[in-house]
Amino acid sequence: MFKYLLKFIVFRTNQLLRFCKELGLIRLLIAIPLFFIFLFFLVEVLSRIHPLAILILYIIPIGFFHLSRQDFIFLTHLKPDIRVLHAAEYNIATLPVSLVAASAGSYWIVPIGHLLLTLFVFVPAPKKFRKHANKDLAQWLPSDLFEWRTMFRKYFWTAIPSYTIGLLLSFHLFTLPLLVFYWSSLIAYTFSHIEPREFIEQYSVKSAFIIDKIKNHSAFLHTFFIPHYILFTIFNFEYVYILIPIILFLQTILLFCILFKYYHFNSSNRKIHNEIPMILFSLLTIFLFPVSITILYNYWRKITFPYHA
């Protein structure tokens, strides 16, 4: 069985390397140090809140990934047990967190984190969350926000609890930034599906379609986050200026996800794989904001260029 497990891990590693190759050496040289700096920052912040809070860095990203997996059938076809495959993947994927946590002095959290992840694979597969859509909330949204409808249908049990916990813990300065960072992954999912080409062809000019899209989705997203903005202002009035970068970050991520989707739009694909590009882009937005604006501008220019496919 170990041989087959190794085969699977080698494939997953190759996948990552291919993605890195596509990204390019220069971008990687920028993104990797930024990623570790950001991780180090998060570990520091969380350990100040509570030493065990570092476990969030193990559980939340992996939990979100676990609950959104679509490879269940494929994995049941492989020789090793699906839980063994999950455990191997999750423990390897969180090695950077362990490395940073250990180097920040919290080495004792590493075995606890990996033990939790190993136990996490016994959490039942998320099938019931996928098929039991929360239609009420989804139907409440206007039909032109169909991307959000899909997201709420599929990720109701990760989106709404995180949103509510965010409201309950809004007295803490770091809650909103962490929540927004978490929600950026949901935004990436929201804009990862391709709609029929006819939706776009209703517009004679592609830029008009994109502008409409940006307007509608920005209005929705910020309206949805207004309770958070208000509570943040009430509880952290002396740091109210932090709201500006938070809102800018959220808006930039939304713009990136929309532009990335229509830049890679191809009606023969059903899905855009934007997760890792979005993570790298969000790191760029935090550390090199002007660069991220340049990227957005480039996408915009290429999308609206009349002869772009």
Partner: protein, 229 residues
Amino acid sequence: MLKTENITVSYETSIVLKNLYLSFYPGEVHGILGVNGSGKTTLFRTICGLLKVDQGIIAYDNHSDLSKKIAYLETEPFFYPYMRGTEYLKLLSYDSKTSDIRLWRDLFKIPLDNFIETYSTGMKKKLALIGVLLLDRPVILLDEPHNGLDLEGVSYLDRILSELKKKGKIVIVSSHIVEVLRKNCDKISLLHNRNVKTTLENSDFSMLETEISSFFSNSSDAIIKQLFG
């Protein structure tokens, strides 16, 4: 033998399959025919263990653990990004020889060294089908396998089904196209109103049209006339 005994499957409050009994025998290609939403995919997913039954039993040779007995071809198979066709097949073909993969490649003419995202819908379907066949499991579930295949692919699939039958596999094929099933199956079960309306043997396939016509709404003729004046 694979059997489903008195199974009921529901999504929240809506029951999709109710008190369903079916038996599938080795060396038989068993067709599942039904209109869209009749529960064909739900039945397949339930047999695979992807959906839980509210009641009833699914057993293969009197064992309820079917996890490594079934190979399932989904209507829209899943593929990882940045994955080559060869890698997909090598991960699935743990007990098969590498030469088998080459033979399959030659038969279906799939560019296995290319990334799967560059494949057409038909190629993806062929690749997933090869993957399912390489698993060499005793029960093979094919959910609408003909969808997206070209003429050549359909012809090969028909021959493959007949070979699987000879090898004593239990093959269950779903479709909403009568001709596809009529040509390949030894038995056809008609799913309607959350249950099996009837199961016809090969010799009774002439009754298929009559059985199917009862599925359709009586008012459909009037509506079509009204629409086209």
